[in-house]
Structures are given as structure tokens and as C-alpha cells.
Amino acid sequence: MSAAPSRGPTDAVPAYYPGCSLDGLGKAYEVSSQQVLRALGLSLDRIVDYNCCGATEVKNLSQDVSVALPARNLALARSMGRHQVVAACNGCVYSLTRANDAVSEPATRTRINTTLERGGAPAYDGTASVQHVLEFIYQRAGAEKVRARVRRPLEGLTIAPYYGCLYTRPKRYTGVGKVPGTDDPEHPHFLDELLEACGARVVKDYAAKTICCGGGHAISDLEVSVAFSASILNEAQRAGADLVATICPLGQINIENHLDRIRTQFGPEVLRPVAYFTQLMSLAFGSSLRAARLANNFSRPDLFLRAKGFS
């Protein structure tokens, strides 16, 4: 049995784990996150020479490799003197916290540290806590501070908040719902509150809030992942939302990758622009559509927002 995850000591400036998506296809998420954090007076210290966390794929081949990959990043954060690691991708939060769970067992920790050492990485003591950037913003700034920072309220926008799977799940890894001050694992609301603080109307009965986007099966099981991506948009339509906000590059990219198939299978009326929540927050804080990189998204929220009077 492993210990319950806990958040442990906090840092003034936690370490930041970008993960491969934020440096790749999810660049707009990275850029807009930095804008939002700066506007709120928060900062994070990037882990230099991080490696990809292995998401949900590597564990199906090898337990040790799937633990060593994220553990190396956590070890780097610890060698930067940090106890806290912030990640923006649900998949990263999952695999980093899963590694923490695994190394809480002494025998596993010893074995993983041998691997890390042989590979030239520092050993990992298992004491870095991991949280999602959404939780970090919510806890450090909160809705009040966000509201005070808004220059350009998102009035006239109705947004469906899409959290996806692994932001909260499973709590035995992520600690969400177990650790005080974290979100509700079944009915998360941090994103709702932050977007409302930005002046948007947030749909309350959004049935697809925490459903799966198809995750790692985005291209290996099209039947399933197209159906899930479509229902994320379809439920947004039913709830009357004209925009979907995401907190995970995998969700964002999966939906956008399937837009053509969704249009063909379910009709064009289901389609909605999809944007990272930090892009929308950055817009509310006064960034231009261009600065928030809203034209980067394949679903082109910039066109929709321009028509709504944003520039």
C-alpha cells in the first residue's frame, strides 16, 4: 500500500514542467499560460532539459520505464530546490503523480534510482508534489484576483468548460478530492469560476465536462475518439455554449484533429471553436487575439471572437 498523495511544502516559485505538447503543438497554451501567470504576479521556474513523461502509453509496455521517465523530471525539480511542480497537461499530471505513487514504495524507489543514476540523472527522493496549472492559478490567485485583473471582460461569450479525464482522476494519484483545497473529482468547478471571473457566462449543465476525449487512442481508435470528441462539442451545443475551453493539450488537439470527421459524421452545426482556458483568460486580461495565439488553433476561435467584437 502506498501513502495517500499530499501536496507537501509549497514554493514561492514552483518548478514548471512543460512536457512535450507545450513545447510542440500546444505552444499557444504555453505562451498564454505565461501571459496569465505574469498578469497575476505568479511565476514558475522551467525545468531545463526535461524529458517527456510517457503519458498513458509507456506504462502498457514497462512499469519501470513509465516510472523512471517522470521521476527524472521530478528529480530535476528537486535538484532545483523545489518541492512543487506545476504541469499544464492532464496527461503529465497523471504520469508525474503516478510516479510519485510508485516510488512511495521503498523497493521501487531504490530500483528507479539505480536506473536514474546509471542514466546520469539525480536520484529522486519522492518528495515533489505535482499540481495542474489550473489548480495553481485557482489556489494562488483565485477568482477575486482574476476579476480584479480583467481589462476586457468576456461578455457575450457562453463557454463550456471541458476538464477531461486526468485533471482530477484518479485521486489516488493526483490527490484531487483528497487533499484540502483541491477541486471536486466528480464535479470540478475551478475552471468554471475562473472563466466567470473573466466575465464569461459558463454553462452549468455541461454533461461532457469530464468525459474522455479518446486520449491516447486519438489516432489508433478513430471510431471511439471521434465519437467522444464529437460529444464534447455536441453537449456544448445542447447546453447553449458557443465556445469550448480546454485545460489539456491532448483534449484540445484530439478535438481539433477530428473536426473534419465530426463535420461529416455529425453535421456542421455541432462544430464549435475550442480554446485553451489560458488563451481566453489572457484575452480578458487585455491581450490581443494575436498575442493570445488564438489563430493557432485549428478550430479558429479568433474568427469567432473577432465577430463578437474582440480584437
Partner: protein, 243 residues
Amino acid sequence: MPIVERSLVEVDRTEALELEGIDVSGDWNTFLRSRVVQDLDLKVADWVKGQPQGETISRCWQCGTCTAGCCLHTDFGLEEFNPRYFIYLAQIGYEEELRRYAQTVWRCVSCNKCVERCPKGVKVEEVIHTIGSYLTLTGAAPESPADRFDRAYTENLLRRGVLDEPDLFRTYERLEGRRTPAGELLRMGLKLLGSGRLHTGPLAHRTRGWRRMGAVLREALTEDERRRREGLAPSPPPPGGPP
């Protein structure tokens, strides 16, 4: 007790028979075929339990919470995807029945709702993937698209430490014999290039000093695969044969 299961009754048993001088000829229609499964083999249960990802299988008490909330079973409507049942079959070692789902088990999308909700702390998602690995490793299931993707993903990432997303996409499409039209690829490529996101091939990100770590992890991967295959002789193909 009356026999209500007519299909179990063999009716063509009318025979002439004399036992100890008494004529007992007649319709011996109560000879039942055996309903007892006799070929249970705990090999699958032991193997799954022996994997770090599968060890929690023994905690399962078959409540079905995982399946009730399973996004594939309930939301997508793939009713034969039943994690509770897969666990049950593995627990009792009913491999023949388990093999009927060889084309289904791999489809778990790892949403982890089952792990979140399991009242017994079973890591259902990881257990299901472990059962899937057993089916593939014993040859009972053909390698699935997800198996191919996981492997392509892992190899891609171990090369430089950071995933080369466009390359993973291309490699995987090649493995499946699929091809996105060149025009679409070009359109996507240009968009990524224009926004400074085309980190692929020579432009790909890499982790400094990864060569050594990559070699050690590749070794660990090979060792894990050897260990997983150990003692698993390939089983005969499932009845009816793979498609």
C-alpha cells in the same frame, strides 16, 4: 426438480436396454451435457498478479462500479467492453471465454474513471491493460492498433527524450498502412511552421545528455519485455481463429 433448460436435454437417447433382467427400454431424455467448466487455468490470474500494473486485481470483489461508469461501456455503448467481467474471467482463469474478447480488451481509452471510483483500490485501468498484454503476449489476440501506437510512442520518445509529435503521427500511419492526403499534411505542416510549432526531424526538441539515459531506459524496456514473456508459451489461437 423439473428440467427447464430444454437445450440441455439430449432427446435421441431412446434405446432398448435390459438391466439385471428388467426391461428398462425407453426415452432416456434426462442425460445432460456437462455444464461444468473444466478447463480453468490460473495461469492468467497468476501472470496478471505478478505484474506491477496488475497486482491489484486480487482486491476486486466484483461490484461492477468500474463498468457502470466506464465511458466505453456506458457512454460509447460498447456493451461487450465489460472490465468487471474481464477481471472475473482472469481471476478464475477462464481463458477460453476471455479470448472471445481479444478484439475488445485493447479499446480502453485510459480515462481512469474506474480507478477513481473503485471502492477496493483496484487500479482497474492498469489491470485491464495488463490482461490485454497477456492476450497479446500469448498470441490469443493479434497485436492491436493501441499496442502498435504505444510502441511507436515509446520508441519515439526514447530516441531524444522529447516526443517528436509529427514524426509519431507519420510513423503510426505507416504502421497501419493509412495515409493522410498529401494536401492535408502540407496544409497542416505549413500552419505549424508558420506558428513555429513544426519541431520535427532535425528541428525536433531534444533533452541534453539524453543519449545515456535513453540507452539505460531502452535496456530497462528490453529487460521488462523479457520478464513479461518469461513462462508465457504462446496459446493456441482462439476458437474460430483470429480474423
